[in-house]
């Protein structure tokens, strides 16, 4: 039971990541290969503020989100003026840089040794220290994310995002300030990824750079595409399926030296097959061409 609750917490955290990436990738059509950078930033800022500065994890959470959003600004500022391929590269670069910083700035992050003993959340003296109580906390954040992203993608605002995805020149000729929208979307997506990072750090209580490699970006992208581009329920479904499947592989009793690369191979292959055969994913409407 404890194990199932744990899996659900992880599903929730990945749902936030997938939803926030879907806003950027699925709805607005911006290729972001470095979503993990925002996730890692949120986790590290939140962990460091609580561990080093002794601040409340809630402040850490907020700062983690804002710090990730700041990274979002730094990445998109130079790249938005250019073709989308360059944005993809700049985000990939952000993923690498954040990873390198977490690994090499040892005086701050302790590098590969990681940060242990990250305290959990508590409210009015009640600590979220059991798995089920943490699950409730995560569900609350999933719902907040769902609510806000749903607001953004339905209605007039979401219409503009989709128009940018379809044809940004046509969109600008209709009076839409395309770069402003891209910017807002990136910052919002980064903010929620930062929150997810913080939720992860305070749940696992230990973070190290190995949780934030570029493979993590790959996993989140796959969740979005598999579930369906521009589909809210697709992102949640994608997150749940891609968290649960590898857990099942674990029951097959493979040693991790085989299971880990095998899992990544399946992910890579799945991405290629989806791109070739069904770019709209399970629930998506958008075919991405």
């Amino acid at each position: 039971m404890e194990y199932i609750l744990h899996i659900l917490v992880i599903c929730g955290i990945y749902s936030i990541l997938a939803l926030s990436l879907n806003l950027i990738l699925g709805y607005t059509g911006l290729v972001n290969l470095g979503h993990v950078a925002f996730y890692a930033t949120g986790a590290y800022i939140s962990a460091l503020l609580t561990l080093q500065a002794g601040l409340s994890p809630w402040i850490g959470l907020l700062a983690g989100g804002l710090g990730a959003a700041l990274i979002g600004i730094v990445v998109t500022l130079p790249a938005l003026r250019l073709k989308s391929d360059y944005l993809a590269l700049a985000t990939l670069g952000a993923g690498i840089i954040v990873y390198q910083v977490s690994k090499n700035w040892t005086s701050l992050t302790r590098g590969p040794m990681g940060l242990p003993g990250i305290p959990g959340f508590s409210i009015f003296g009640i600590a979220f220290d059991s798995t089920w109580s943490y699950l409730i906390l995560v569900i609350v954040f999933v719902l907040i994310t769902l609510f806000i992203i749903n607001r953004l993608v339905t209605g007039a605002y979401g219409r503009v995002l989709k128009s940018i995805r379809e044809d940004e020149v046509a969109s600008s000729v209709l009076g839409k300030n395309v770069n402003k929208y891209k910017f807002q979307v990136f910052i919002t997506g980064a903010f929620f990824a930062g929150l997810a990072g913080s939720l992860y750090a305070h749940y696992i209580t230990f973070i190290d750079p190995s949780s934030f490699t570029i493979m993590e970006s790959m996993t989140i992208i796959l969740m979005v595409i598999f579930g369906g581009m521009a589909s809210i329920k697709g992102s949640v479904a994608g997150a749940v399926i891609l968290v649960v499947i590898p857990e099942m592989l674990r029951f097959l009793g493979m040693p991790s030296s085989i299971a880990a690369p095998l899992r990544q191979m399946i992910y890579g292959l799945l991405l290629v097959i989806l791109m070739m055969k069904r770019p709209q994913g399970l629930f998506g409407k958008f075919r991405f061409t």
Binding site: R81, Y86, Q100, K103, L262, G268
Partner: protein, 292 residues
């Protein structure tokens, strides 16, 4: 001391230039960022390991076969994945994501076969180096430097002088027009993948002789190669070589002052500076958004 950094920069730069050149040759015909070029490099290195270390074949033979297998892998990637997507007129975004998928797949396949541990293509103990301009260069490094420059210049001459090279340029400039004058673009794309991938395989092999092999080695190199080609000017052959050398020199001279772990960060800072100030690179034409 600085001479040593410059020399190291030239050696690293030569490798980057080689990969960037291969990337550029492919980019010119398919016009998207072929990320999986990075694992072609890794594959070249590991095939080289199997041939030279496990099967103990002569190093030159192993080198040539590594290039050949890299070329075959490049062609296969294009045939199996890119070509069907091209037929469907898939967008660059789809191609880029598919390329990312291939990258992850092959990299983990290599890890599954060879394990995650660090391997080396070194066949003997490291020989003592020679001293030039108060910098030390080992015989292996001389081989790397010479081979990479010879390969680059050969390719450049091939593209500028031969009929096939001219056809490749024609396809790059205007595929429709090239088709009309009887050049088959698909054939040219295949040749580009073969040549570009062979260069990546060669680079992977060379770096394996100097440093180590790791399944994840292709990731860093493809990023640097792409950045090198942006710095040099996307799609420009001399630009790719210049960019590669520039990146290699900057990161190695940069670590004269900074800890060596920050090499990659230096490179990305260069990328950001270029994207902000000169997105078309040293030799490129404008890469800003096209106007319709």
């Amino acid at each position: 001391m600085i001479q040593q950094f410059i020399l190291n920069g030239l050696i690293a730069g030569g490798i980057y230039a080689l990969v960037a050149l291969g990337f550029t040759v492919i980019f010119r015909t398919v016009k998207f960022f072929h990320l999986a070029h990075g694992v072609v490099y890794t594959t070249g290195a590991y095939i080289g390991y199997t041939l030279a270390i496990q099967l103990k074949l002569p190093i030159v033979i192993a080198f040539l076969f590594a290039m050949l297998s890299a070329a075959i892998l490049g062609i296969l990637i294009d045939r199996i994945v890119y070509r069907p997507l091209r037929k469907k007129k898939a967008s660059n975004l789809i191609l880029l994501l598919a390329s990312f998928g291939i990258f992850i797949f092959v990299q983990n396949l290599i890890q599954l076969i060879y394990g995650a541990q660090i391997l080396s293509l070194r066949t003997g103990p490291v020989k003592e180096g020679y001293e030039i301009f108060s910098a030390i260069i080992t015989p292996i490094q001389i081989i790397i430097l010479v081979t990479s420059f010879v390969l680059m210049i050969t390719l450049w001459i091939f593209i500028r002088k031969t009929k096939l090279g001219k056809a490749m340029r024609a396809v790059s400039d205007d595929p429709m027009a090239a088709n009309i004058v009887g050049i088959n673009p698909e054939r040219i794309i295949m040749i580009s993948f073969a040549l570009g991938s062979a260069l990546a395989g060669a680079a992977g092999f060379l770096i394996g002789m100097e440093t180590n092999l790791e399944p994840t080695m292709g990731f860093n190199i493809i990023l640097k190669a792409i950045i090198a080609s942006i710095v040099g000017g996307v799609g420009s052959i001399p630009g790719a070589m210049l960019g590669g050398l520039f990146i290699g020199l900057s990161e190695n001279i940069g670590i004269a002052w900074l800890p060596s772990a920050w090499k990659d960060v230096i490179v990305f800072v260069i990328l950001i500076i270029f994207l902000l100030i000169r997105p078309q690179g040293f030799l490129g034409i404008k890469t800003k958004k096209e106007n319709s």
